[in-house]
Amino acid sequence: MTRGGAVPDEAGDFAEFVGARQRALQRTAWLLTGDWALAEDLVQTALARTWPRWDRIRRRDSPDSYVRQVIVNTWLTWRRRKWRGEQAFAAVPDGPAPGDHAAEIVVRLAVRQALETLTERQRAVVVMRVFDDMPEADVARTLNISVGTVKSTVAQALAKLRQDPRLTSLMDRESL
């Protein structure tokens, strides 16, 4: 480990963490951004910020939770900026979907559009609390709010999501 936040030469442990967790982290990032390219950028940015402090972070109880906090806070910072670094791209990063994926697309669009109706804080709380199953205390610490505020924000967000007819109809179905 070099000093002053330098990148370690031996990054085996960090590489192992990235290999094991990057898929889950990208999924969380997609729920925040609604865009795979932005989600990938967000995860890369968060991991690049984490890497120089990895020696310290890995001694914590949950490095995963720490990285998720960085992801959420980075996303909130991006949202506050007027320009969010979005660029048109000529090549589409994803390939054709195999098989019948129509139902999955319907869910994806409904969830994405419903999440877009939430405020930034509501969206972050729902993603962390409902999707990532983070304890309320961790969510509160990440967003620098009280546990009570986390609870009320979840309730408000769910109430708002229930007003979305497409999402509600999907939630009412027994299976997709």
């Binding site: 990148v7 969380t28 994803d94 054709p96 999955e104 409902v130 997709l176």
Partner: protein, 430 residues
Amino acid sequence: MTATQDRLRELMEIAAGEPPRSVSITQLRRLARRRRTVHRSVAAVAAAAAMAGLAFGVFALSGQSTVMPPQYGSTGFRGPVILPPAAGVPEYYIQQGQPRIARARESSPWAQTGRIVVRDTATGAVTATVRCPWAGSQVWAIAATQDEAFFIACAQVSGSELHPVVSGTQIYRFQVTSTGEIAGYTAVPGGWLPRQLALDLTAAANGSAIAFRVGAHGPVSAGARYLVINTRTGAIATWTSGPIQQGGRFPSDLSLSANGKELTFYTGNMTRFLSSAQLRNPNATWGDVAEVGPASRGGSLRSARVLLPAAALAELPREIRPYLRVSRDGATVTVVAIGSIPADAVRAHLVAEQISVATGLVTRVLFRAEVGRYTKTASGGSGEFGGSASADPSGRYLILNFGPKPGSGNGWLDNGRLVPLMPSSGADTW
């Protein structure tokens, strides 16, 4: 966690799906190093920012900065931004002589009107006239392929517009030469249709196949027939829609993949079939984009694979969908649609977007502009606007045509810019 939260989590799990790419440790290393450099060299960053600002200023002053697509707002029509033709744009294009007025391809009841000409892309000068070699026939449909080759459907029709009597249709192929002339017409093998019309004509970019709907105008309850013809051998494959009931889905907007192996189509309800109550219900008007393949096999279009479900098109205008094209790698579908959008029922918008087949999400907005005022009626829609889209004769660009009010235009889409054709009258072009 409550049952509601559990269910929401399930849906979020499905929605998040699988990330298309993995995060690379090499890229992370590069990013981390860049961050370290930035943090240690504040002065260098400031200098770089100053340089970047200077560079941007010079770039903007040079007139080469980003040019936005033309906007047609309520303040009135502003003409398209004039840009030089993009590299690789074909030297010639085909233009229908008379501008199209407020009609969709499916609802257009009569042949291409006016003189159809070949024009020089750079100057707009007419270099040749497209004529059906079959005496007494008219051009009913045109499709472009790459390398300045075109297909036309020539039909001999008499009688009235409502009750046409069709003698038959012959499909021809012709090539535009390097001097803008037409190097003769060749009858396409298998392209003779006795007593039938060829509608909704489309061609594979490599010219190996064409596809079209056979028959009279408008949807028919007994179902529709679609032919895919191998232009080299004349082999014909027939696809059928099956019976179409009131409010049922009607395959339209045919598109062949670049190599002619897949046939894509839109299966939305025809607005003319819908009541005003149904029109107000967006779920009744959206349809899927589906695909069958190999196109040369033939069969029932009911066996098609859904490429994009209706939900993926929900935010697009829904009155007219004049164009669909699947990318060469099959990853995206380009959709051009015209009409009112959910957020604005008053104005007509022309929207061209690329939608990912894998996610159903828009990956790129190619063009978006207001092209007219929209008046909804019980029988569908009306308004003094219209539009069409087509592949260009190189197979690389998308051509948009729109008008006549509040303005009209024709142009190539090149990286989000509309490069106008001359003259930009709003007439159909290929």
